[in-house]
Symmetry: C2
Subunit: 168 residues, 2 copies
């Protein structure tokens, strides 16, 4: 499912990178790889579980520099190997609607609903990497933007590229 | 994705029926067919749009006997022809998280989030028909039950069977 970019509701990060779609796919779909780069440092991803099928579980635990842990559970939606990976936190594994509390306990991200997709297109240099994040409304999009989407996802992509190159 | 039945959170209607999986599939995936049976009478389904792919739009407008209209937009999740159809109203088309208002305008169902799946298994008599509805929490499940899930979905299945037999 290709979704046209809606500047009112969506955020996008697009960059041509010098690694292959296969390397990026492996980094996104293997827990041991993903844990190396998924959080902007000095935060860490201390747990990761990936059940790579539509309806499958995508579970991560992020840890702050102070040691506080923030679990996140999402559900995979679309999986096209080496081309497209989509997931959402609006559904839990098995496609069950997420039980979002009216007040967010703990972390400010806790109830920011989103669907994310990573699209990979082979190029002469390597890969055109696109991260596309859909929000339910303009306020959510603006909140995610204010939280530092651009800098955060960009830093994470730098970490991802460094991890791939180090593992070659 | 097969989800085990969780009696705390889920509702299920299972019945062996004397029509084929192919007939049931057509009734569920063709707007002109679906409009004939999708609402318990005397309510009517006055509009229906079906975009039969993961992430595709499932749109219906139900009309009360007094003429008030209630539009519903959902998103298809899993489509296995003649075997399984799943959709949710927790996502909008293109997998965007639904923008659920804190207060429900109009209809009491308006913000009851659910994921539904219809599973069809061929039997000697016809089809084992299973409707499985997942809710985010026990309160939602109980509310849906109190609204008459069992009687409503059962009446709709009777209408569905009658429509199939009439169109033969």
């Amino acid at each position: 499912m290709t979704t046209a970019f809606n500047p009112e509701l969506d955020l996008i990060l697009e960059r041509e990178v010098d690694v292959s779609p296969a390397e990026l796919w492996q980094a996104w779909t293997t827990p041991e790889h993903l844990k190396q780069w998924f959080c902007p440092q000095p935060w860490k991803t201390v747990e990761c579980e990936i059940e790579l099928k539509p309806g499958g579980r995508f579970y991560t635990v992020m840890q702050s520099p102070e040691g506080q842990q923030f679990p996140n559970t999402g559900c995979y939606l679309e999986i096209i190997p080496e081309q497209k990976l989509s997931w959402t936190n609006a559904l839990q594994p098995g496609f069950r609607p997420a039980d979002t509390p009216p007040q967010s306990p703990g972390h400010e991200c806790a109830e920011l609903l989103m669907t994310a997709s990573i699209t990979l297109q082979a190029t002469a240099k390597g890969t055109l990497y696109t991260a596309h994040v859909l929000h339910p409304n303009a306020a959510s999009k603006q909140r995610h933007e204010a939280m530092g989407f651009e800098a955060g996802w960009s830093a994470v992509l730098d970490q991802l590229l460094a991890a791939i190159k180090q593992s070659r």
